[in-house]
Structure formats: C-alpha cells, structure tokens
C-alpha cells in the first residue's frame, strides 16, 4: 500500500472516531438534560439531540468506516426515517404535556397556544350557560368532538 492511501485511511479513521465520540456525547448530553431541566418542555429539548444529530454523526461515521458507496443511500434512508418520525412523536408528547399542564408557564418565552385555548374556553363557557341548547344530534359534530378530544377541559379528566 502506498503512503498516500495509508494517510487517507488514517484521516478517515480519525474523522469517524471524532464523529463517534461526539455522537455518543450527544446521548450523554440528553441524559444530563433529562436529569437537570425543570419541566417537560425543556427536557424534550434535550431529548432530541441523540435522536437527530447524534444519529446523523454515528451513521456518518459508519459510512466512513465501511468505505463503500452503496451503503450511503441506506444510511441516508435510515436517518430520514428518524427525521420524519421524531417531530411527530415530539409534537404529540408536547401537546399532551400542554393539555395536562406539565409546564411552568413562567419559563415560556411565548405561549402561542394560549390564545386558542382561551377562545375555546370562552366558547365552552357560553355553551355551559345554555344547557337547554344542547342538541343530542349535534354530539358527533366536529366542534363537539374536538372539545372532547382535547379541549381545555381534558386536563381535569
């Protein structure tokens, strides 16, 4: 083997070693964040690190170590799959956390959901004042179903 390929080999090894160590440190950062942050929302912020950036670094290191071209599309697909599913589950967890009041409102820099919740609560209050206006046929309407699913009253269930 000539010295140039040997040098290239060492460089690739070094880069992938750095990526592997940094990717593992992402997991450690997530664990420290889980233990130290005060509420669910900030813990969610820490939890995303190994799921997206950590996995990217480790798959990149894996592709470098394999030293083939055909493996890269598979690795990209694996990462894209994670990239598509993680925001959906984080959205669901965050939504459930907001509904069940697992947050410290004073720590939020902006609460864009609050106006919507206030509006829905106002609408519900109007309905509650007119129980006679309740129409059984209306029970399956999107408006009512939306309220049963997760209106502001869901937190007290």
């Amino acid at each position: 083997m000539n010295p140039e390929t040997l040098l290239g080999d060492t460089v690739i090894d070094a880069v992938s070693a750095v990526f592997m160590v940094v990717g593992a440190l992402m997991s450690l950062g997530a664990a420290i964040g889980l233990l130290r942050f005060p509420d669910l929302m900030s813990r969610m912020h820490a939890a995303t690190k190994p799921q997206v950036l950590g996995l990217f670094l480790l798959l990149f290191a894996l592709g470098l170590q394999l030293r083939t071209w055909w493996a890269w599309p598979v690795l990209v697909v694996a990462w894209l799959f994670q990239l598509l599913t993680v925001p959906v589950s984080a959205h669901m967890v965050g939504r459930a956390g907001y509904r069940t009041k697992h947050l410290h409102p004073e720590l939020l820099s902006s609460d864009e959901l609050e106006a919507v919740v206030q509006q829905a609560a106002g609408k519900r209050g109007f309905d509650d004042e007119n129980p006679a206006g309740f129409n059984p046929d209306d029970a399956g309407s999107p408006d009512r179903r939306g309220r049963l699913d997760g209106g502001p009253g869901a937190g007290s269930a």
Partner: protein, 92 residues
C-alpha cells in the same frame, strides 16, 4: 484507535443510559418517563451504530430502523391516552 474509541463511547453511553433510567425511575409524570424511554431507545440505537462502525458490518441497520418505529409508535400511543392524575399542578 478503534479500540480506544469503543472504550470511550461504551463508558459515555453507559453513563447516558444510567441517566435516562434514573429519569424513568423518578418520573415524576408519565410523559417524563415516555420521553426518557425514547432517549434510552436512542442510546441503544447509538450503541448499535457504534458496533456496526467498529466492526464494519451492516447487520444491525434493520434493527436500528425497527427501534425508531418502536419509539415512534410507543410515544405517540402513550401521549394520545395520557391523563392528568396529579393532585397539584406544581409537582413537576
């Protein structure tokens, strides 16, 4: 060098898994536990990746994808059916 990397990452990932397990144990709410379980799954995925990279094979790749499906389905399901049973809102 790969042996050194393997040792370092094994130590780091073990500490991370210990932290996630502690968070699963102390809670305090169901959503915190779900989140910590998700992180634990991500740590397992990282361990699989490092095993593949150090030993230069692709045997665990399908396991990695399956792991992310499990994490996704699990957290979405639990988040969908979670309910607040705490006495005081200020617990967490």
């Amino acid at each position: 060098m790969m042996q050194l990397v393997l040792t370092v990452t094994a130590v780091v990932l073990s500490l991370a898994a210990a932290g996630a397990i502690i968070r699963i144990a102390i809670g305090p709410s169901l959503l915190d536990r779900v989140l910590a379980a998700d992180v634990l799954l991500a740590i397992f995925g990282a361990a699989l990746c490092i095993d593949m990279a150090v030993n230069r094979h692709l045997n665990n790749l399908m396991l990695l994808v399956a792991l992310s499906i499990i994490g996704f389905v699990g957290s979405v399901t639990v988040a969908r059916f979670v309910a607040d049973r705490r006495e005081s809102v200020r617990e967490s």
